[in-house]
Symmetry: none
Subunit: 296 residues, 2 copies
């Protein structure tokens, strides 16, 4: 106790008993640390809980260093020893812990539930997280195995894959382009740079595949590209929010994705998860057949 008081009195040591401050100091001094100390530093940032309640030997093993290194680390950051530092993490764990006792737990819950109306930033995040989780689960439930397999097959058969997604759908197309380019598949992102959408899409031909992403309100340009692809006998996969959308109607295969939406800000979580599934499944099919190795 007297020790703690001494510490609090010392202004240079205020950082000592605050995990967040310690984290900051670790980050700050990270570059100047020795290699082994860096290992410990990284581990401390990654697994603060372990620091709090595992023994030195265990922590040391996980960091792949000697126990003595942990002690050195603690001393480097101004603690008497490793135990001294561990107290810090332990206290933090206790203070953040959800269940100090039943009574406290219930009280905490009620307090948190009470101020949802206030819409603090973290409440907002909580809502988005819940919304996105729901969207992902919906995706999982509604997406049919055969459609996924057909999508993968279309990618596999295509000579080249064209990606289009404008405005809010652009990140999906960009993600697909990035991921597919790490397989050996020839991949073109139709981005409309320099107003050359027409020129870019005029490259498509029979044997090619267009993956078009668009959500209400549908970009006319995206619909135009889908139509052009159809006329040029290219295959089309649509990722859209409705099978009735202008994108979906002329597509060979349509994935209907219901993403979370808040006001008019649409999330892309489910769309990206679908994209991820298609690409990775395709990549693995490659390794399975060719013995090759997909890169990303």
């Amino acid at each position: 106790m007297t020790e703690a008081q001494t510490r609090q009195a010392d202004p240079a040591m205020t950082a000592r008993n605050n995990v967040e401050a310690l984290r900051a100091r670790i980050v700050q001094r990270y570059e100047s640390l020795s290699p082994r100390l860096k290992q410990v530093a990284a581990y401390a940032l990654e697994h603060p809980n372990d620091l709090g309640l595992e023994t030195l030997a265990v922590i040391a093993k996980r960091c792949k260093v000697q126990p003595s290194t942990i002690v050195r680390f603690a001393k480097t950051f101004g603690y008497d020893g490793a135990s001294d530092m561990q107290k810090l993490f332990r206290d933090e764990l206790l203070s953040l812990s959800p269940s100090p006792s039943y009574a406290d737990r219930i009280r905490q819950f009620n307090e948190r539930a009470g101020d949802v109306g206030a819409h603090s930033a973290s409440d907002l995040m909580h809502e988005f997280v819940q919304g996105n989780i729901a969207a992902l689960q919906h995706l999982d439930e509604t997406t049919r195995q055969e459609e996924l397999e057909r999508g993968v097959a279309l990618i596999a058969e295509a000579q080249a894959v064209y990606l289009v997604g404008l405005r809010r759908s652009f990140p999906v197309a960009a993600y697909l382009a990035y991921a597919l380019r790490h397989t050996e598949k020839r991949t073109y992102l139709v981005d409309g740079l320099a107003g050359m959408i027409a020129e870019q899409s005029s490259m498509m031909g029979p044997g090619d595949l267009l993956i078009a992403t668009s959500f209400r309100p549908y970009a006319q340009q995206t619909a135009d590209i889908v139509n052009e692809a159809a006329e040029r006998k290219a295959k089309v996969i649509a990722i859209s929010d409705s099978r009735l959308s202008p994108i979906a109607r002329r597509a060979d295969l349509c994935f209907e994705v219901k993403d979370a939406e808040f006001r008019k800000f649409r999330s892309l979580t489910a769309s990206l998860c679908l994209a991820q599934t298609l690409v990775i499944r395709y990549a693995y099919q490659l390794t399975a057949h060719d013995g090759g190795s997909p890169q990303a």
Copy 2:
């Protein structure tokens, strides 16, 4: 020892490794316990956390009993010793604890996801959905209210917002650019088109904000831009997977995001959800203050 073995054989004792079940047993047998054991029992129900991470001596003092009494208590409830029982509370603490448990889940997901060959496309999707859900929950648990508010404030104060995210982080930057452009904030996407990254980033100045997104392996160019922003006295928000990343170290504010990862295919779910929260919170703040209406 033999006692413990007998117990494991007893199906009714599966409850051994579940804190909730232990609590129930304590309550159930409470009346039949000796006075000192009652003291320990009451303390165990009230302060499960202490049971998990204090030493026997400390717990004993708080219960006002001898350390040996704690051991007897543990044995009374079928454990090999006090340490054996403590493991239980410790695990519980870990599993309820906000940060690393979800990180572990994500890690577990990443490890499990290793063998895809056997999986059908829909199994694959199911795994990704689960992985992304874990990542979202982790984001929700670990992101601090103050950091979100600070991020929103930085956006609000900025004269102009620059976005950078190269390679696999590009969709995040693109999403932010799209969303922010639907507020009245001046927004520039540093995309490196025509090799003009240097020129684009040389536009930043004091009063501006750079939001940089980068994940391991960090793109050198992104780090360069962050450094340039710092030199030009612009503020920097980093979205990265570690506070030790080259992006994060010079940032004024760092959001640490653990996205699900499959081999080297990184998901962007959590990053996008964070981006979404920042932008919408900012937009919401605008309406609250100006009575205006954000569009997207």
